[in-house]
């Protein structure tokens, strides 16, 4: 285990040392990252049922110890596997950022990011956890800044602001828990004794702290802002993996608290809200990267639904619900990591080929980039949870949790589980619209702005290889659903009290595939028997009711969702602008949607803070001498205070 960490550290330092030769540093840095993460993935996968401990040598203030149990092994495996795919992708992709930042720094930050995430999962001590957590946040902020441009600093500030709110809540919660337990080591937090009120408060603090990092509602506002600003391989890593690290920490810490059924209810509500709001904003957005980012919020909501069921099961001592709930959550975590990083990498391909993020300017890209298009289709199918792919498998298990949880007699449990199922199904219906829109507007039809699409061409093989690998995993995890479930149940059984390991009546995906294959043979037999007309298809323009076809006649991303926007107009605020310039010139029509929560919740707070900061800013007059004077005054005050009061 320590070899993997030291190898990552060495890779990071080595790529930094190649500062003068950026292209070589890119190949070396990302190549090393992919090799080490492949080794790490294999290592963690083969050690799923063991516990490894490692102490840092030396004489530090608090002895940092790193400990990986089964759940930690699973998450470390996930981190390293996705890092492997993304670093293979970045091998060729990073060269597009050559002018914006030094590629050696990029590769070095990349390796350091993976290392910090692995160490966060493994850390066993409050101080080392918080330190590594902050390092992880800072490195991800620097990775966002690699794509420098106008407004980059503002976006990074928003991301860091929300991350800091989360980190402070998290630190408060951890310190209270440590003081109740009497020790700072997580593995020694045995059974914490506290009342129900304190337990629920700590749970909420943990939820705010870690949910803000995971992108749960109402902290989802940083997701589109940060992910649209990042380079695509960094956003693939951040969205696919960093969110999972936050979820791992949440699961680990909440399991240390005494459990109540209310935990489940809180998680179910927050999960349902995240799902719905995430997918509404994904649906109405015209920027494909923002759509994918909001869909991260939606999927985190689905994971929280599974976790809600699991915690409800733990709180009411029904191990079956807990088992299936955790399996659902872990399976969806696995699936989401795979298809979300895949989507971001594909969007990176599209962006480098066309240099625009606006879906209303794209179209018809399938003719230029066929393989990317097919992989995008498979990924869109799996993120909408359509059978027989992996998204459907994990969502089915989430539904199963809800149904089993809602059988019992209590009105409140029935209410919350029904609410969860309703939210999940509405999300499913809207996700179909959102992703068919994204896929259709980018790859199908005719290009709406031919300048952008003219120079697009298919990307190189080294960029397609990891995408193809992950897409085949999407199909594989769906087909071999029961095998994955049995591996996950072994891992989950280490954290919940003993229960039987039965697959409790799960569906069988191979049978679904078999039936579908059977049905697919029928039309061919039918057509052959009836001697259908198989002549060559004549190609013509699309039918436009007698008018000459114009590419602006086809449906665009904005108009596709027009009806739903009208239906949801109480929730979305639109800004519509129509510019008329005389009868014979073009009409310019723009419509922007504002995130409601940004306007109502965040913008007033930000304005007030800036007002106060402007007033305080008088102290900052730019001369270092005066600042040294401030330090001196402060020291004297502290000395007086300490002398008289302590």
């Amino acid at each position: 285990m320590q070899t993997i960490y030291t190898l990552f550290l060495l890779a990071s330092l080595l790529s930094l040392a190649l500062y003068k030769k950026p292209l070589l540093a890119q190949k070396v840095g990302f190549g090393l990252a992919s090799v080490i993460s492949l080794y790490a993935a294999v290592f963690f996968f083969s050690n799923f049922d063991e516990t490894l401990i490692w102490k840092l040598p030396g004489n530090f203030i608090s002895l940092p110890q790193f400990r990986l149990d089964s759940v930690g092994m699973f998450f470390s495996f996930l981190v390293s596997f996705i890092a492997f795919a993304v670093s293979l992708f970045s091998f060729d992709y990073a060269k597009f950022y050559e002018k914006k930042a030094n590629l050696a720094v990029f590769a070095s930050l990349f390796n350091a990011f993976i290392l910090s995430m692995l160490l966060v999962i493994a850390s066993d001590n409050v101080f080392s956890f918080m330190l590594l957590w902050e390092i992880m946040t800072l490195i991800s902020a620097l990775l966002i800044l690699i794509n420098d441009g106008e407004g980059a600093s503002k976006n990074v500030m928003i991301y860091l602001g929300i991350a800091q709110i989360g980190a402070s809540c998290l630190m408060v919660a951890l310190i209270i828990m440590a003081s109740i337990a009497g020790t700072f080591e997580f593995s020694k937090f045995d059974h914490l004794e506290m009342g129900m009120g304190m337990s629920i408060t700590l749970f909420s603090l943990l939820l705010i702290g870690l949910g803000s990092k995971a992108g749960m509602f109402p902290f989802h506002v940083w997701l589109p802002i940060a992910y649209c600003q990042c380079p695509s391989n960094a956003s693939a890593l951040m969205s696919g993996v960093m969110i999972k690290v936050a979820l791992f920490a949440f699961i680990k810490f909440s399991l240390l608290l005494p459990q109540f059924a209310y935990f489940g209810y809180i998680l179910l509500t927050m999960g349902a809200l995240s799902c719905i709001f995430g997918i509404i904003y994904a649906l109405v957005s015209n920027d494909y990267k923002a759509s994918i980012a909001y869909s991260s919020c939606e999927n985190v909501g689905i994971i929280f639904l599974g976790l809600g069921g699991a915690f409800y099961g733990l709180g009411t001592n029904s191990p079956i619900i807990a088992l299936i709930g955790f399996i659902a959550a872990f399976f969806h975590i696995l699936n989401h990591a795979v298809f979300k990083s895949l989507l971001f990498m594909l969007s990176g391909n599209v962006f480098t080929a066309t240099n625009t993020r606006d879906m209303d300017a794209l179209g018809g890209l399938h003719k230029k980039m066929p393989i990317t298009s097919i992989i995008f289709f498979v990924t869109a199918l799996s993120i909408c949870a359509l059978p027989p792919l992996n998204g459907f498998a994990s969502e089915w298990i989430v539904y199963k949790t809800m149904v089993i949880g809602g059988i019992e007699e209590g009105a409140s449990s029935r209410f919350f589980f029904s609410l969860a199922i309703i939210a999940l199904s509405i999300t499913g219906a809207m996700a179909i619209m959102a992703f068919s829109k994204v896929y259709g507007a980018i790859f199908l039809g005719v290009a709406r702005d031919t300048k952008c699409v003219e120079e697009a061409k298919e990307v190189s093989f080294s960029r397609l290889l990891p995408l193809g690998l992950l897409a085949s995993l999407c199909v594989g995890f769906g087909l071999f659903m029961n095998d994955v479930v049995s591996i996950l149940s072994k891992i989950v059984l280490t954290i919940i009290p003993q229960t039987s390991v039965s697959t409790y009546g799960f569906i069988s995906m191979p049978i679904i595939v078999m039936v579908m294959v059977l049905c697919s043979i029928l039309p061919f037999i039918f057509l052959y028997l009836l001697k259908a007309n198989n002549k060559e298809v004549r190609v013509t323009d699309p039918w436009a009711c007698g008018f000459i076809y114009n590419k602006n006649m086809q449906i665009g991303s904005n108009s596709f969702t027009g009806d739903i926007r009208k239906a949801l107009s109480f929730l979305l605020k639109h800004e519509q602008e129509i510019k008329l310039d005389g009868y014979f010139s073009k009409v310019v029509y723009t419509k922007k949607t504002h995130d409601l929560f940004w306007e109502k919740l965040y913008a007033p707070v930000i304005d007030m803070v800036m007002l106060i900061a402007d007033k305080i800013g008088i102290f900052q007059n730019g001369r270092t001498n005066l600042y040294a004077g401030y330090i001196l005054i402060y020291l004297c005050l502290v000395l007086i205070f300490g002398y008289y009061y302590l």
Partner: protein
């Protein structure tokens, strides 16, 4: 053996569905004081389509070639998921016949439909793809609320299990939430069949079938059969959960015949609603009528939550 019955179930549905379509067209014509086509007209239509040549628009991609077959696979798999010729005893197939499998196969159908519409770059196809998605949004909620009542009441999501429970009588109309849910569910399933007042199944531009405007020849024939199958499935979904009396007969073939007769009856009775009103616009009309269905289904859910 089960797979043979499954195949029989599917093939007989494909064979019989155009007949029901023809009967309903004849009935509608009679209402409108016309002679109307013969009841076998749909068979002749499909045969004629198979013999025609095809044109396609220049902007299409592989989606255009693949989508008729994908739509057929979805519709056929949906129909196979109905436990008519098999019950809860058949081990492999009861792992396939599940409520969510059915719903999400329907979602796959909708996804391919929308993508095929955008692919052809036809303006009307695009608008109707948007409509298809929006109708899906409206109907999905109500259907799922009704289904929640049934699933949690019986404790399982397996269609064959639920069907057998209602047949035995251990769960059924004695439970008030179940009976109220059945009304809303029937309403939603009617909307899903795509008849007036929610859509005009035979007209083309801008409507639900506008997507099909660019398909012709054998592709169109296959899609036609797929849509017919989907309409059958959706009505059969209602029957299997809320009126599964056909399964009381032990012989699978006999239950299949009774079941197809029931579906045909419902399909043709749909003409009574279909024929007597205009089509709703999607914003006002759809919302207003679906609000009633939503209210009914929410009542049934509230009754379930309170434990009645």
């Amino acid at each position: 053996m089960d797979f043979v019955y499954l195949l029989l179930q599917l093939v007989s549905a494909i064979v019989v569905a155009p007949l029901f379509d023809g009967i309903s067209r004849k009935l509608r014509a009679k209402f409108q004081s016309r002679i109307g086509p013969s009841i076998f007209q749909t068979y002749y239509d499909i045969y004629k389509l198979l013999k025609r040549g095809r044109t396609k628009s220049s902007s299409t991609s592989y989606i255009y070639q693949v989508s008729p077959y994908l739509l057929f696979i979805c519709a056929a798999a949906m129909f196979c998921a109905l436990p008519i010729t098999y019950g809860a005893q058949s081990a492999p197939l009861s792992q396939f016949s599940d409520i969510f499998v059915l719903l999400y196969l329907g979602a796959l159908f909708r996804f391919i439909f929308i993508v095929a519409g955008i692919d052809t770059a036809n303006p009307f196809a695009g608008v109707s793809a948007s409509r298809e998605g929006t109708i899906g949004f409206y109907t999905e909620e109500v259907a799922v609320i009704c289904l929640i009542v049934v699933m949690m009441g019986t404790g399982s999501t397996s269609l064959s299990y639920i069907s057998s429970l209602v047949q035995e009588g251990s769960y059924g109309y004695a439970v008030p939430s179940f009976s109220i849910a059945s009304t809303a569910f029937l309403w939603v399933m009617y909307v899903e069949t795509g008849r007036k007042p929610y859509d005009l199944a035979e007209a083309e531009q801008e409507l639900q079938e506008g997507v099909l405007g660019e398909f012709c020849g054998k592709d169109f024939a296959i899609i036609d059969i797929a849509i017919l199958l989907k309409q059958m499935t959706v009505l059969g979904f209602f029957l299997v959960i809320f009126m599964p009396w056909a399964g009381l007969v032990d012989n699978p073939i006999l239950s299949l015949i009774i079941f197809l007769a029931e579906i045909g009856f419902l399909y043709v009775m749909g003409v009574f609603i279909d024929n007597f009103g205009p089509r709703f616009t999607i914003n006002k009309g759809m919302k207003r009528t679906m609000l009633f269905a939503l209210a009914i289904s929410c009542t049934s859910l509230a009754l379930y939550i309170m434990g009645i």
